[in-house]
């Protein structure tokens, strides 16, 4: 099985910008709706940027796979730089789980940094010292 993110740099440059709202509610349904008519975007306070170093993409699977093992393709339908983050009853803050989860991106960055061989040798030597000192 393989899944391809089926878009090239050209597609990316040409793709349209999407206007996104991240709602604090479960909507049981998908598809077109009278968003313009019923959704009143009364504030810009909640505008949130896509985290630095990332690009926001909306992707779509056009055909549902027939079975688990068939190849799948995800196509690009739009890009975005910012979106509106809504909370049910409070102004978005750093206390939101979403914001806190983003901190993990920095942590993952640190974790994936390569370690130089000198540092490693130094650490091994230091550990040997320590175990010698406290037998």
């Amino acid at each position: 099985m393989s899944i391809t993110l089926d878009f090239s740099g050209k597609n990316l440059a040409k793709s349209k910008s999407v206007n996104l709202h991240y709602l604090p509610a479960k909507i049981d349904g998908d598809g077109e709706a009278n968003v313009e008519e019923y959704f009143n975007n009364y504030t810009r306070e909640a505008t949130d940027l896509v985290p630095e170093g990332y690009r926001g993409l909306v992707i779509q699977e056009t055909e549902k796979p027939i079975n688990e093992s068939s190849d799948r393709q995800l196509r690009l339908t739009g890009v975005f730089e910012e979106f509106t983050y809504w909370n049910y009853d409070k102004v978005p803050s750093n206390g939101d789980t979403y914001r806190q989860a983003l901190l993990l991106a920095d942590v993952a960055d640190a974790l994936s940094k390569p370690i130089s061989e000198q540092d490693l040798e130094a650490e091994i030597a230091r550990n040997k010292e320590n175990t010698k000192e406290s037998p």
């Binding site: 393989s2 899944i3 993110l5 089926d6 878009f7 090239s8 740099g9 990316l12 440059a13 999407v18 206007n19 996104l20 991240y22 709602l23 604090p24 509610a25 479960k26 909507i27 049981d28 349904g29 998908d30 598809g31 077109e32 709706a33 968003v35 985290p51 170093g53 990332y54 690009r55 926001g56 993409l57 909306v58 992707i59 779509q60 699977e61 549902k64 995800l74 739009g78 206390g95 789980t97 979403y98 806190q100 989860a101 901190l103 993990l104 920095d106 942590v107 993952a108 960055d109 640190a110 974790l111 994936s112 390569p114 370690i115 061989e117 540092d119 490693l120 650490e123 091994i124 550990n127």
Partner: protein, 340 residues
């Protein structure tokens, strides 16, 4: 009864049944993805990114990774809250998840296979797990062979290189990784103590001062984060190497210290403040178990919030507390087996 039926007791109306029918197609619809700019396809380049499954040692099963044809790979994480949806232009999207790429060191993933296959003898990479397509793809196409020096002994004969797992180097390497993570946790002022706290409090200066004494909390949290990519037994070795005491021990010790402080300072730090603290930590655990971050989807893990991290022993039952208290002061059983 039929007339008196309340709204709550009414059988669910049909539209819901339809809804659940629709639900099954929802996963095939639109998804919101934060893609790292490092992976973005260049203008001219016509290659495609792929999603592939590799064995994830921390989960003990396969997980999805985004791979770039040039040999880069990133983990695909999923951020999910129980009640979230998207509006995309004039379209409703019931899948309220955010998918996000997150850098990962392939060496961490390779470690599992090295320990499994190369603990006793040195092997060349193309000979490991020849019948597991995804494993050999990982080892031969995404892994930087140079990076294996940190976790293995390398023997070369002619052009061929053979690797043998080296535990001492691995632990030292993981310890360095843990320190890197601890440093970033500190820099970002991510709260790592065992009680939950309001975000406002985290940002206060008082806490910044208190944090100085919480070195071990950072190390423990960092250890847990690194541990998410390790086999369970290797994680235990790492905590041993770094001398990280278990959280139960730490909580008991802190409590004792607080009691001493209390008896010294009189009623300044009354029992009320402590009660609140305990309640908070319970709430954190409840929040976690209730699954504020549900990852029931087919696509790998969710990004848990750092404060609701992978700590396993967040809330203690009275029994556990009593146990830990009783164990305090007694010698650890491991101390009897040390090499003298």
């Amino acid at each position: 009864m039929s007339k008196k039926a309340t709204r709550a007791s009414k059988p669910k109306p049909d539209p819901d049944a339809e809804g659940s029918g629709k639900k099954s197609t929802a996963s095939a619809l639109k998804k919101v993805l934060f893609l790292s700019e490092k992976l973005l396809p260049k203008d001219a380049d016509d290659q495609r990114l792929r999603l592939e499954r590799f064995h994830h040692p921390g989960k003990g099963k396969e997980a999805l990774f985004v791979t770039h044809p040039d040999g880069q790979m990133m983990e695909l994480l999923e951020y999910a809250e129980p009640r979230r949806s998207w509006l995309l232009n004039s379209e409703v999207c019931s899948n309220g998840r955010i998918y996000m790429t997150s850098p990962v060191d392939p060496t961490l993933l390779a470690l599992h296979h090295l320990r499994k296959h190369c603990a006793q003898r040195a092997m060349s990479l193309d000979n490991i797990a020849v019948n597991e397509a995804s494993t050999s793809r990982l080892l031969n196409e995404f892994l930087e062979p140079e990076s294996l020096k940190c976790v293995a002994d390398v023997k070369s004969s002619g052009d061929q290189k053979f690797y043998k797992y080296n535990q001492e180097r691995t632990l030292a390497w993981l310890a360095l990784k843990t320190r890197l993570v601890a440093a970033i946790l500190k820099e970002k002022q991510i709260h790592c103590g065992h009680s939950a706290q309001s975000q406002n409090f985290v940002r206060s200066e008082k806490l910044a001062a208190e944090n100085a004494s919480n070195e071990m909390d950072y190390t423990r949290m960092a250890c847990d984060i690194v541990g998410r990519y390790l086999d369970a037994d290797l994680y235990d070795l790492l905590t041993g190497y770094l001398h990280v005491p278990s959280e139960i021990q730490a909580i008991v010790e802190e409590k004792n210290a607080a009691q001493k402080r209390k008896s010294k300072a009189g009623k300044d730090e009354g029992s009320d403040s402590k009660k609140i603290k305990l309640n908070d930590s319970d709430a954190g655990a409840r929040l976690k178990s209730s699954g504020i971050l549900d990852s029931d989807g087919d696509l790998n893990a969710s990004i848990t919030s750092p404060t609701a991290g992978p700590l396993k022993e967040r809330s203690l039952t009275a029994k556990e507390k009593a146990l830990a208290k009783g164990a305090k002061g007694t010698k650890s059983i491991a101390s009897f087996f040390k090499v003298k």
